[in-house]
Assembly symmetry: C2
Homo-oligomer: 435 residues x 2
């Protein structure tokens, strides 16, 4: 299928520094890739003439046309657990509320929880997410059916290595059948993996030619325990273990010092910053400005919905910017365009797909969203970038295209039955909570 | 007019501590006040029988019925300036961007800017706002026409005392004609008022029997300058000057120490906390938990749209909670229900209208909103309070009633032409920027 988007405000996320990053124009999609991006309506006419028998035309007047957002760290099935426990200390949250429920979750609960999270993400303009959870096979299936791009990370942890060995194999078998699902290894964290199991994850990464997606330096406790046990920081430990010899995406990096940041930069480790989760769980404030200044690629993630409590990348952009400003007492920290880069191009880089995703350019995959600016909270229009980051909401996203397929149109999801997805999730959580 | 709301999830914001704060039920409005709130459908039948010839019935199935939100600090007309300057140092922002434009704004610009901000607030479930700006006469007119409750604060500043003297008189004449507009004095801040002009404001407050709405301890500079000039903190200065002898609402209070907090508590000064503005301008993090623990009444505000960049009280609730958690490294700080209280009952108290606003109880004014929970990002339903604070958005508000009048119905504003309001604002800012 071909798609022509015309009359839009095109924000391709590849403007040279200092130039206005958007322009009025049009964009053509051939099958699953972007064919052209142009400010000239003649290009639109030519494209339409070429594809006149098979072309969906979208009028984007009053709308921003931009790359879909890339959520680089979540546990999507935890959408099922949204709100079951909040405002309690971390260990009580995990041990008394989250883990007991998670222990009862199998393939079906993960599948239906993932469908709920995916529905929320698609409706909010997220077109790619990076996941980590047990039963990534279920997440892969849910993502493929919904038509959202997913990087699933089967997740070795000492207490469930057997499950992991089954899970990664099933995911690995499934991937060739999907146009949108890929894989990373998901070595969970320093505190849940023995040397041997970490080594297993690293060697599988090399064997399968996939990257690693890890939790790193999320809390003070993690840092303190690592230093007590290994005499080094979690970052130093993973470097020494050889993890960074694989393409690595490290979630959180709240507790990293200057030496750690040097290591991350030198090893081209990408960092998934999760500001709302770090705030809600009182983990701390990641030194994002420092990391960016040191050349670390920092992207954005929502973390799971039970520590956020949503999967809303617009809020993460806004919060990332506002939080760094107040944390550094510098109102210039993380300007709006940088926040947009974190949610798009930096996200693509974090999963090793720079130039293919997170950008509107010929040859890139057609992951595109249309954002409706015709709302009071986005008026007047003086600076589109600032409107998107500081004022726009997930519900301003009107149309979503993933891999050339229209998955949300005029705020209706075409690939999922929203009511069924929501009520199925409700049924599961009611059963899990024995209501 | 009478209104019956039935089948809703009623959240009256007056549940005793420890009890579940919401229940399935119904609510009746007679003219501009709440007649009954009940979990019994017989009450609904009785009400309907009594008013059968004049009763609008709203089915609130799947919706939360709660008090409208109270935005206790804004400069609503600054919606016009949304996005004209961001990500720059405070003084450059004010001196090079905001003030030059504000200098060109007269009655009409303030009126139309206020209409834009009011439209945004109504669409997001804010039913009362507390304002401070030049030409509060224009804000009063705009609020009255739109049917939103407003507390306008004519604002003495040394360089425009003449304007102030005209403005407060015009507002004072207008108020008896309006059912929704009231007034406070708005002595701007310690750094813009001579002793004499502050005294004038205080004596007018006493004369007219209205409270005071002031900027207090917003930045480090303000605190440092006050200590250098007066040998005391801004809070101590205002206390000494007698300001707190009037009912006082102090916006910001970022830079308050333990002694200041004692003074605020002892003098029953309410604090309007503006977390997103304080973050965006890198002013700092107000010690909200400390103030609440000390017995200070803390409400929420958005500040002006040019330092936020929206007038969204849902974001302020969420941000207030998340920011205190990370600032105090305590995930229990500002639990969800406390954030809701800050946006409702505490807001009412901040403007001296405890029991009349911010609460659903017989005899209170009918300022009511309906929030639609039938959306993916609000599923599953396990804890409504947590959903409202951590996951809900302004655009989940479906119906808004102010003073017994339905002003928003199914996400359409009935009292304003949204398109006309937006395009008029656009015209003004284009002219002001000489585009």
């Amino acid at each position: 299928m071909n798609i022509l988007i015309k009359n839009g405000i095109i924000l391709p996320m590849n403007a040279p520094k200092g130039e206005q990053p958007y322009f009025c124009g049009c964009l053509g999609v051939e099958n699953n890739k972007i064919a052209f991006v142009s400010s000239s309506s003649q290009e639109a006419d030519k494209f339409l003439a070429l594809h006149k028998d098979d072309c969906t035309v979208i009028d984007a007047a009053g709308k921003v046309v931009m790359p879909g957002l890339i959520n680089t760290h979540t546990h999507v099935a935890m959408a099922l657990l949204r709100g079951i426990s909040d405002d309690v200390p971390l260990m009580e949250w995990l041990q008394e509320h989250i883990w007991p429920i998670e222990g009862k979750m199998g393939y079906q609960e993960v599948f239906d929880g993932a469908r709920l999270g995916i529905l929320e993400m698609l409706m909010g303009g997220t077109t790619t997410f990076v996941d980590m959870y047990p039963y990534e096979e279920a997440v892969a299936h849910a993502a493929d059916l919904a038509g959202i791009r997913a990087v699933v990370s089967p997740c070795p942890m000492d207490f469930r290595m057997e499950h992991f060995e089954t899970d990664w194999r099933k995911v690995n078998e499934f991937i060739p059948q999907s146009q949108v699902v890929t894989m990373m290894m998901g070595p969970h964290a320093i505190y849940t993996l023995s040397d041997k199991n970490l080594e297993r994850s690293i060697s599988l990464s090399h064997e399968l030619g996939v990257g690693s997606h890890v939790h790193l330096a999320e809390t003070e406790t993690e840092d303190r325990d690592a230093r007590a046990k290994y005499g080094m920081s979690p970052t130093e430990y993973f470097q020494k273990a050889g993890l960074f010899g694989t393409h690595t995406l490290a979630a959180h990096c709240v507790m990293v010092d200057d030496r750690d940041i040097e290591i991350l930069a030198a090893n081209k480790v990408s960092v998934a910053h999760n500001p709302q989760s770090n705030m809600k769980l009182a983990s701390g404030i990641a030194p994002v400005k420092k990391m960016l200044d040191a050349g670390v690629n920092v992207s954005l993630g929502t973390d799971g919905a039970s520590s956020n409590n949503d999967l809303d990348m617009w809020e993460e952009m806004r919060t990332a910017s506002l939080l760094q400003k107040v944390a550094t007492m510098n109102p210039c920290a993380i300007p709006a365009y940088t926040a947009l880069e974190m949610a798009t191009v930096n996200g693509a880089k974090a999963i090793g797909r720079e130039g293919e995703l997170g950008i509107l350019t010929p040859g890139a995959f057609a992951d595109i969203i249309l954002v409706d600016l015709e709302k009071a909270h986005l008026y007047p229009h003086t600076n589109i970038i600032s409107e998107l980051v500081y004022s726009a909401h997930a519900q301003d996203v009107e149309t979503v295209i993933v891999n050339g397929r229209i998955v949300v149109e005029n705020r209706k999801c075409l690939t999922m039955n929203a009511q069924e997805v929501c009520s199925t999730a409700q049924k599961h959580i009611d059963e899990l909570l024995n209501k």
